[in-house]
């Protein structure tokens, strides 16, 4: 029987990571927190179905990734016209200036699946197989998403940036 304290422990241990990941994918802190909450609610509600509670972080991570992609794609489709002109604003932290900002803006302008693959590969250091599992797509699709994203970034961001 899952107790409230169990859920509180999961929240304390993992919710910040969920928000961070959603923010890295979406570059929008308010949407990211909504996505993280939605993902945590779905994942924690299924805690009884987990083979092992130690797998909760990986399960929550999948939930964040899939929720972020689904919700962003739905939003993009709803307002496709507006979104073509939309370049997400990366919140500028004190430590991030100049070339970092340029690169982050270029990443955030990528299509959602390319952006997600890049974040998972180069921030979380996931393998292509792990990314394919998390994004629920074939490994070949991950490869092509990463390849296209890197090509775009090389064009958008000067190599000495």
């Amino acid at each position: 029987m899952t107790k409230r304290t169990d859920i509180e422990e999961l929240y304390e241990a993992h919710f910040r990571d969920a928000v961070r990941l959603a923010t890295m994918i979406l570059a929008d802190s308010s949407s990211a927190e909504d996505v993280a909450q939605d993902a945590f609610l779905r994942a924690a509600s299924r805690i009884g179905a987990l083979r092992d509670r130690a797998s909760f972080p990986a399960y929550l991570r999948k939930a964040v990734i899939r929720t972020a992609i689904s919700q962003r794609r739905a939003r993009d489709r709803r307002s496709d016209r507006e979104m073509r002109a939309y370049r997400p604003a990366v919140e500028e932290p004190a430590e991030t200036v100049g070339s970092d900002q340029l690169l982050l803006q270029a990443v955030q302008a990528l299509p959602i699946r390319q952006r997600t693959a890049i974040v998972l590969r180069y921030w979380l250091d996931l393998s292509e197989r792990e990314i394919a599992d998390a994004m629920r797509c074939p490994r070949g699709t991950v490869k092509s998403n990463l390849s296209r994203a890197l090509t775009t970034l090389r064009q958008e961001v000067p190599t000495d940036a």
């Binding site: 409230r4 509180e8 939605d38 609610l41 009884g48 899939r66 489709r77 430590e95």
Partner: protein, 249 residues
């Protein structure tokens, strides 16, 4: 070339460290989780008492990659179930908006069986049916296993040839929905039909697993909602969903 990848790692790390993780709402979120957990526990308990106690909807669960197709389209139905066996063509039936050709009699519609992991939070009724994101009349054409290493239980991805859309779907001739693997269900699972297979005609309704558009990672709702085809029930669905067309986007 390598420089860009190294730069990405360094930039992401700096950016991630700068992201604020100060937020409120933790107590409310935890309370919501506990409410869902309580509903699930109550449902599983109720499911052990008998079919009358098991009504309502099904909470989504994540899945992952599909793999091998279990059976080829056009196969006949296996088992000794009373499941209706509509005429199954060797090719996919085209989508129509009119009532499909029907046998003269159909068995009563039966709800599909689920595992004890189903969480019933809404009673099946035309009103609640009208709140679902998608609904259609379809014939099973393929079943693929889904593996989710973190979770117990077994799910399958099911491809349908759609005979009629009641909600969402537009002009799509096919639909793919995640469902409980009927072969994995046991005697402690909820009552309902578990012998559906390729060729079986079903009425399916559900939600997008992770939010978003109606058919994004679509999962079937159980607990009385998704069920075997019967023209009378199909007519009820058609009317309920048409009457509440504005209930969902």
């Amino acid at each position: 070339m390598h420089d860009l990848e190294a730069t990405l790692r360094e930039t992401f790390e700096r950016h991630a460290q700068s992201i604020s993780t100060q937020f409120g709402g933790g107590d409310a979120l935890i309370s919501s989780v506990m409410q869902r957990r309580r509903r699930r526990t109550a449902t599983i308990y109720a499911a052990t008492l008998g079919p009358a106690a098991v009504i309502a909807s099904f909470a989504v669960r994540p899945g992952s990659d599909g793999s091998d197709v279990q059976t080829a389209p056009g196969a006949t139905q296996a088992g000794t179930s009373t499941q209706p066996t509509p005429p199954v063509a060797s090719t996919l039936p085209p989508r129509t908006t009119a009532e499909p050709t029907l046998p003269s009699t159909w068995p009563p519609s039966e709800p599909l069986a689920t595992s004890g992991e189903a969480s019933c939070v809404e009673e099946y009724s035309p009103t609640n049916l009208a709140n679902r994101a998608f609904a259609f009349d379809g014939t099973v054409v393929a079943i693929r296993e889904v593996t989710e290493p973190e979770l117990t239980g077994s799910m399958v991805e099911v491809d349908f040839a759609v005979n009629e859309w009641f909600r969402a779907g537009d002009d799509e001739a096919t639909a793919t929905v995640e469902m409980f693997d009927p072969e994995s269900l046991t005697s402690v699972d909820q009552t309902g039909l578990d012998a559906w297979t390729v060729g079986t005609r079903l009425l399916i309704t559900g939600e997008p697993r992770w939010g978003g558009d109606p058919l994004d990672n679509a999962v079937a709702w159980y607990c009385g909602f998704s069920r075997t085809y019967n023209p009378d029930v199909a007519a009820t669905w058609r009317a309920a969903l048409a009457a509440n067309r504005g209930a969902r986007p």
